[in-house]
Amino acid sequence: MNRDASAQSVPAKRGLFKTFFLCLPMMLLTFMMLTRGNIPADEDRLFALAITFFFFNVLFFLMVHTGKTDRFRSILFITLSVCFVISFISHLIEVRGSMAISGANMIEGEVPFCHIAIPMTLIPAALTKTIIFPGTIIGSFASIASMFVLWIGVSLSLGRGLCSWFCFFGGLEDGFSRIFRKPLIKNINVKWTYLPYAVLLVVVLLAAVTLSPTYCHWLCPFKTVTEFVEITSVKILIQTIIFVSLFIGLVIVLPILTKRRTQCGLFCPFGAFQSFTNKTNAFEVRIDHEKCVKCMKCVQICPTFSISEESIAEGRTGISCTKCGKCVDACPKTALFYHVKGTSLVSSLDRYRLLFLYPAFLVLATMAGGYVQDVIVKTIKLIATGSII
């Protein structure tokens, strides 16, 4: 990597005034996304809106001011997942009275669509013009069309960054992976990083041949904290044991022990599928050979196993990089940096980071906004009435 005298690295800190100026567009955008054009008349909702807006913008301000990305992203990302789970479960209990999906719910297409099911639906949709998921195409909460539109938009703007700036499940294991200061399990055989691609291959093939969302039926660990099929047979009982075990193992225990996002990095078929969108996305994380002192800190801390000695030699993170910024924050020599493909590798590096942060943070804030406000309102209701429903 050639470097001239005027080459700039990422600055450690910005002045307060300059930071405030840079944060103004985000304030405007988050205000638009959180209010959706309507200031709520209800006091509780207005309070929730104000708190959410303040919380989000303080985090973005700190990101811009300190030059640290993951430190503040992770707070909002974990908040998104926790609030999503609370909001989703309470919503289900309000509507259905239970987290369990009955046969009648499935026939009526009342199952909210999730982005993880997208790879399984593509081939059957192309071949048979059928969506193999018991949800509604348009109109209802988390309809199939709305999730596809969101997925296309976020994939175009962030690539696999979706997994660290959009996915409402990823924050759970991200949170668990931060419990201990040091990992108890350090060495994980690199061959397991191929497993998500194998899971993807199998579930896509099985879904195409059987015309049913096989991953959702058998493997999705997140059904444990969202919704699941009512246990009415031994087969469903076995399915339940499998997905609960996967949740405990991959989302709780292994992230705690390894300090990595093991479900995302070693199992998730959607993550594997999403990795290919990194090829067409404009943003990437690069590694400066000249600055790198081969301390391997980035290799050890990457949550999705996307950095190896080979990738350092190539000067870029692997295809599965979720652009969370953890390596960028941790590098003692600022050798890792956000970059826009096709532009200079030695100057304006902080501008590239800002260019990435605006869409990425807006996506995260938009995803989290509704759930965070909902949880604040429900918490107020819980304090006032003793019930969140």
Partner: protein
């Protein structure tokens, strides 16, 4: 048929990943045109199909000789599923070295080329069809379950179709770079399908035991 096709699909990547490096020197000699390469690939696949169909007949024979005498065939077939699926899981996730069955004919290559130059792709295909790898053994068990010769042959034919889809690009040799990644993903996919068959085998065993 559907089960055979799924089993073939899930293992086709591994078959190609392991066998193509051995077969390509035979099938796709340097400088040959895509049309010639395609013809050789078809010969290879026909040889492979004949190997499978031979075993379909053998499976039908076992069904009519051994299983007809047994009062609880579920136990035998379920047990076979469990054993072979465990082998497939081991092969998919833990076994590090696997070779293509066609490599067995390496020593005979020059003799065959001298005597019958056009037969080599067919023989290579036939030998891969006789490979006793866990996916093949599972397919064999599935074929034994079929009560008629036609169903047994159709099951193996579906298995053949599933694996053959992945051989379609072989005339375009250039895409076969990065074999190590393909091998790893293919093997793990086979291992995952092994888990599915393990479940089927256990269900069958429970069914057999409950009827005793």
């Amino acid at each position: 048929m559907l089960e055979g096709f799924i089993l073939g699909l899930s293992n086709g990547v591994t078959c190609v990943a392991y066998c193509a490096p051995v077969l390509i020197p035979y099938l796709l000699g340097e400088g040959k045109r895509i049309s010639q390469n395609s013809a050789l690939t078809v010969q290879f696949l026909l040889g492979r199909l004949s190997g499978y169909l031979l075993f379909a007949v053998f499976a039908w024979g076992i069904n009519h000789s051994i299983l007809q005498w047994m009062s609880k065939p579920d136990l035998l077939i379920g047990g076979a599923y469990v054993i072979f699926s465990v082998l497939l899981i081991f092969y998919g996730f833990f076994k590090t070295t696997t070779s293509c069955a066609a490599s067995r004919i390496n020593g005979l290559r020059h003799k065959w080329v001298a005597i019958m130059p056009f037969s080599l792709p067919i023989i290579a295909g036939f030998v891969t069809g006789l490979s006793f790898c866990p996916p093949f053994l599972l397919a064999f068990t599935g074929a034994i379950e079929r009560t008629s010769l036609l169903k047994s042959m159709l099951f193996f034919f579906a298995f053949f179709l599933g694996t053959s889809i992945f051989f379609i690009p072989t005339p375009f040799v250039g895409i076969f770079r990065g074999f190590s990644t393909l091998k790893m993903v293919g093997k793990m996919a086979a291992g995952l399908i092994g888990v599915y068959y393990l479940y089927s085998g256990i269900v069958m065993l429970i069914g057999g035991i409950s009827r005793i």
